[in-house]
Structures are given as structure tokens and as C-alpha cells.
């Protein structure tokens, strides 16, 4: 064996190790910097007013994003009412009956669909709801959000249902329980925490969506009285305030970002905790 070549190989190994470590550091660096800024700039504007007041005109101190937070909650709620049942029961079909070509097509379409830019979903919702109803509305916003939710919920729920042991199902069927009741009472029931985990993750994903709301819910500086009116949403407000030239609106945007990030991480932590407690 040639000693020099062994040394060279060692050097190559060391260099590669170093490069991989450096790549990891470089990748994680933005995370630290972004978090640092969100917390530093956002924390000072977090106070009771932030959660109870609507934005003030620039120049006036204070104000909050209460209408945005409420608007987001309402639209996500309505989107979930439509999106969750479709996603969950669609997943039941894929696990219980899904062996044929059709099911493969559905799975494939769901995967492809979740990669389509969300702004296109917004345009579709605009064409289907905003134009016929002659105006931007919270309904159109929720519709766009539900379209984004369905493929995510479908695929995550299916993953969870697949983990339920067949023996459980067989036991129930052997007792003479029809398949549909078995699906609901046994399969879905035992995968419940998993389904909830998937749901929370889907909601976390949708909560930060801005592009599909731009020309459906549009945003609103004030409280909306009806679902057929434009409605404020937290990410929309962050966007509008961030691109404005005013310092005090920037501060509100940072605070909104902090709230949004805390909310999303709260959701995904809850999802993880649920997922873990099931396995232990």
C-alpha cells in the first residue's frame, strides 16, 4: 500500500467532513438570525392592546392586530370545516379500498397538488367566487385555504391510518361489525391522535398563507361585519405593514410575525407531543 495515497485519502475525508459541518452551520445560521430579529423587534409591541385593538393610522402610537388575528381564526376555522372532513374521509377510502389505479392516481394528484403555488389557488378562488359574488370576501378566502388544506390532510391522515394494525380491523369485522362502522369506530378511533396531529400540521401550514388571500379576502383595516365582506388576516397585515414606509407599522409587522411564529410552533409542538405520547 502506498503511504502517500492513504494520507491523501485521509485529507479528502477530513476536508469532506469539514465541508459538511460548514454547510450545516451555514444552513442553520439564517434560522438563528431571523429568530433573533423577530424576537428583538417584535417583543416590545406585544401588549394587551396588540390583541384587542385594530391598527391605528400611522403617526398614532399603539394599535394592534386584533382584527387580523380574529380574521385568520375565522377563515381557518371555515376552511377546516370543509377541508378536514374531505381530507380525512378521502384518506379512509384510500386505506380501506385503495388498491386500484384510481387510488394511485388520487395519491399522486394530492402530492402534485400540494406543490402548486398557493397564489394560483387564490386566482382560482377569485374566478370562482369573487367574480360571481361581485366582491372580495372572507368566504372566498376560506375557500382558497380549504383547497390548500385538502391534499395535505388527505396524505397525512392516510399515513396515520396505514399504521393501524390489520388485526384490529379483522377482530372488529369478525364480530360482525360492518366495514363502515369498523372504519369509523376502530380504524379512525385508534388513529385519532395521528389524525389530530396531521390536522394541526395542516392548520399550521395554512395559518401562514398570504398569497391565496391577496385577492380573495383582500384584507381590511377595520372589523368585518359579514362573511361576504373583505376580511383582515394576520399574514396579510404583516405583508402590508412590512412594505409600508412607516416605522410604527414596521413595529406592528414584527410583533405580528412574532405572534404568527409562536402560534405555528405551538401547533407543531402540540402535534409532535401528541405523536410522541402515542408511541410511548
Amino acid at each position: 500500500m502506498n503511504l502517500r495515497s492513504i494520507a491523501l485519502r485521509r485529507v479528502a475525508n477530513g476536508a469532506a467532513t469539514l465541508l459538511m459541518g460548514a454547510a450545516t452551520l451555514l444552513v442553520l445560521l439564517p434560522l438563528i438570525i431571523i429568530f433573533y430579529h423577530i424576537i428583538k423587534m417584535g417583543i416590545s409591541s406585544i401588549n394587551p392592546d396588540f390583541f384587542t385593538q385594530i391598527p391605528r393610522p400611522t403617526g398614532e402610537e399603539g394599535g394592534g392586530m386584533a382584527n387580523g388575528i380574529a380574521g385568520s381564526a375565522i377563515m381557518i376555522g371555515m376552511a377546516s370545516l370543509v377541508g378536514l372532513p374531505i381530507g380525512v374521509f378521502g384518506a379512509v377510502y384510500l386505506t380501506e379500498y385503495g388498491t386500484g389505479k384510481l387510488s394511485t392516481t388520487i395519491r399522486f394528484c394530492a402530492d402534485v397538488l400540494s406543490g402548486i403555488p398557493s397564489i394560483i389557488t387564490g386566482m382560482v378562488a377569485y374566478g370562482m367566487l369573487v367574480v360571481p359574488m361581485k366582491g372580495f370576501s372572507a368566504l372566498a378566502g376560506s375557500f382558497a385555504l380549504s383547497l390548500i388544506m385538502i391534499p395535505i390532510v388527505l396524505r397525512t391522515t392516510e399515513e396515520q391510518l396505514k399504521m393501524v394494525p390489520t388485526t384490529l380491523r379483522e377482530a372488529s369485522l369478525a364480530l360482525g361489525v360492518p366495514l363502515w362502522r369498523t372504519s369509523i369506530k376502530v380504524t379512525l378511533r385508534s388513529a385519532l391522535t395521528g389524525v389530530i396531529t396531521g390536522t394541526l400540521l395542516a392548520i399550521a401550514r395554512v395559518a401562514g398563507e398570504t398569497a391565496p388571500l391577496l385577492f380573495t379576502a383582500l384584507g381590511n383595516q377595520f372589523w368585518s361585519k359579514k362573511l361576504t365582506e373583505p376580511m383582515a388576516a394576520l399574514p396579510l397585515q404583516i405583508f402590508n405593514f412590512a412594505i409600508s414606509p412607516y416605522e410604527d407599522w414596521h413595529r406592528l409587522a414584527w410583533a405580528g410575525a412574532l405572534v404568527l411564529v409562536v402560534l405555528m410552533f405551538g401547533l407543531s409542538l402540540a402535534a409532535r407531543w401528541l405523536g410522541r405520547s402515542k408511541h410511548s
Binding site: N13, A16, T24, L28, A110, G115, L154, A207, A242, W254
Partner: protein
Amino acid sequence: MRNSAQGIKGDTLFQWFTLLLACSIIVIMLIMTAEMVKESLPAITRFGWKFITGSTWDAVKEEFASLPYLYGSIVSSILAILLATPLSIGTALFITELAPRKLGAVTASLVELLAAIPSVIYGLWGILVMTPWLQSTVQPFLIKRLGFLPFFQGAPYGVSMLAAVFILMIMIVPIITSITKEVLMAVPTSQKEAAIALGATRWEMIRMSVLPYGRSGILGAVILGLGRAIGETMAVTMVIGNTPKISLSLLSPAYTMPSVIANEFAETTTKMHASALMEIGLILLFVTLVINFLARMLLWSVTRKWKGGVA
């Protein structure tokens, strides 16, 4: 008897009911495509191929062509992918092959956190922190040292193609990393052990047995990242400067397809303006459909292989 008959009827009903809901995915896809095609027909018939080769965008004269947006989308996404791919593969290798188990798990969840940050927050950080820094530090440096190259000429505006490339890179790295990690974790241990047993160093083991095995999966991950970059809307809109100009210089502002939709669609005054934006959306839909189709094909073929091979 009655009970079982009811059960069977219930079963048939239940099967049809769930089938209907599952099929909604296909319906959504068809409706989305149909809607986009329908709304862009006026622009397609009026401008024809000139829509993608010309560069006038004039809402007053109702002349629309989209080349600057196409150019901005393609250049920003491809540069971002070129920067993101080596970083992502390096990080994925660090997580799966290099780091002790605990450290790897922590790194992986930090990467997941990065992937979960909404686009608008990247944009907020980009416009209020990153672009001022680019303007005051990075761009003057580039102009001074590399200003003889056509890519680094002009004045330092901050908002620029460069800013879009950076923010896109930060955003797609976690996606490529986490899928690549999944792909690498599925490489059979026997493959790695074989390399080690033959006296390979760790890097040689990665180069000769891990990477070749994961090749098509990693390619799938990269293509998926490309799709994400092309469709990325909010963050890019906030940092790219929104100027429909084709310029070789990375320091000058540019525009992308999703950005022009985000900026103009809510305020269109004429039918033709709306239709032209819809056609840009249709192009975007078509491109991302093809990209995602390809990526999923690659990733699915890998998963099948694992299922056959590992068992």
C-alpha cells in the same frame, strides 16, 4: 338477517361516500386547470406566442407580454437552486452520516423549523433586515471588487435579483434537505457496511455507496425545490424590487411571474389586464405541474425500490 343486510347497504354507501371525497382531489385539479385556461383565453387568442417573447407590459394601451417575468423567475430560481443544492446535500449528509444520533435529530428538527416559517415572515426579514445590509455592505463590495463583470454592475439598491436569490436559497434549503435526508436514511446499512469493510474512509463510503444509491431521490428533491422556488410569491415580491427589466446584473431590481400577479391582480381595471395575469398564472401552473410531476415520479420510483429492496 336484517342487520347484516343493513350492514352491507351501509358498506356500499360508505364506500361511495368516501370515494366521492377522495376523488375531490382529481376534481380540484381539473377545475383549477379549466378555470385558469378559461380565464386566460382572451389573452391567449389576442397575443398568441408574442405573449412569451415580447417585453411590453402596458395596462393603459392593453399591450401585454411576459418575457421579463419569465426571465426573472427562471434566473432567480436556478441561481437559488445552484446555491442551495450543495448546502442541502451537505446538511443532509451531516444529519444522517456524520453527526451523533442526538445532534443529528436536533439538527433535523431545526431544519424542519426553518421549513415551517411562513413565506411572509421571510419577506419581512428580507425587506427590513437583509436588503439594507446588502445595500450597505455586500453590494458595494461586489461592485468594487467584481464590478468589471457584467453581473455586478450598477448602483446598490438593496432590493434586487441578488436579494431574491438569497431569500429563495434560504427558503428552499430546508425542503431539499429534509427530503434528501429521508432518501439517504433509506440507503440500506449493508451497502455502507460493505464499503467500510473494504477499508473505505467515511467520505469514500458516502461517495461510493450512499450517494449513488440515493441519486434519483436526491434529484427528485432538488427538482421539488425548484418548483417551490418558481412558485414562491410573498418573500420574493418583497425583496426583488418589482421592475420588469431584463438585466444581466444581479444588482438591478427584477420581477417574477408570481410577483406581478400578487402586485397587480387585485387592482386590474380592464378584462384584458386580468386575462393577461391569468395567462401568467396558467404558465406558472403548467411549469409547476410538470416539475412536480417529474419530482414525484423520481421520488416514488425510489420509494418503490426501497420497499422491494430493503425487505
